[in-house]
Amino acid sequence: MRTLEASKSKQELKTEGFTVKSTMKNSVVVGPPPAGAFRERPAKPTVFRKFYERGDFPIALEHDTKGNKIAWKVEIEKLDYHHYLPLFFDGLCETTHPYEFFARQGVHDMLEHGGAKILPVLPQLIVPIKNALNTRNRQVICTTLKVLQHLVVSADMIGDALVPYYRQILPILNIFKNMNINSGDGIDYSQQKRENIGDLIQETLEVFERYGGENAFINIKYMVPTYESCMLN
């Protein structure tokens, strides 16, 4: 009985800071709750999904054994980029098959064959890119970073044209820039598959700097203070 009482009096009372409770003798102040900067924020149902299910995209939906290509019903050169490219970018938020595959591959094909048609659509792509990064889902961020790298090199002047939008895109990159595993001399297999977010972000920022013209570095530095130039040194 005595031991029980003794343990009771010793029992610590957990409480938040700056409360009356916290002045009590046996109370222990717990730290603040996590802010949730890294917590995933699931995306709302995308417009891409709606269009896909309605069959509005000019792509053949049946799958063959290859599974890594889209069969386009219309020549990509004849597509209305102002309409379709933002829609495909909207699908980057998706994490489930088949939406994820068709969005990723569709974006890839359209960027690869878009040429001069991409630049005028660029302002419309920023919001979908920002939404995708904002989901903070590791897989989605990976895909979006690779898409960003492809976007910058897809045509002339895109790197320059992207500089004014760094404010929308780079904050998330700044948050995740240090997401690198320090595995000592162990092997981090995600590196081989190019799925290590920290490395991908570093790569992406370097591509931005290389293709973004003379103002790129200072603007990146403003949003990602730990970034160091890959060209000045």
Partner: protein, 93 residues
């Protein structure tokens, strides 16, 4: 009639072997075979096209129309990975 048969048979390949190593030709064959054709010759015959779009930098096939009239688009860089080289069939006529 005989001449037609002869004509048909001349399109048929005499032999087939598997690619052992990656080369530019194997890369092209890989692209045609993904789209469902044996090679460039068959593609030209089926689709009745003269010009096949190729990437200016590398010369690889850029776009092919499949038999169901949908289009396949290919990258400017190498697509046929080492692990897929042995799946490529090289036909001889």
């Amino acid at each position: 009639m005989a001449s037609l048969e002869q004509c048909e048979s001349s399109y048929q390949p005499k032999s087939m072997s598997r690619a052992k190593q990656w080369t530019d030709e194997v890369e092209d064959l890989y692209r045609f075979q993904q789209a469902g054709y044996r090679d460039e010759q068959e593609y030209r015959r089926v689709k009745q096209v003269m010009l096949i779009e190729r990437w200016p930098e590398t010369g690889y096939v850029k776009k092919l129309q499949r038999r169901d009239n949908t289009f396949y688009y290919y990258n400017r860089k190498r697509e046929c990975e080492d692990k897929e080289v042995h799946k490529v069939k090289v036909y001889a006529y």
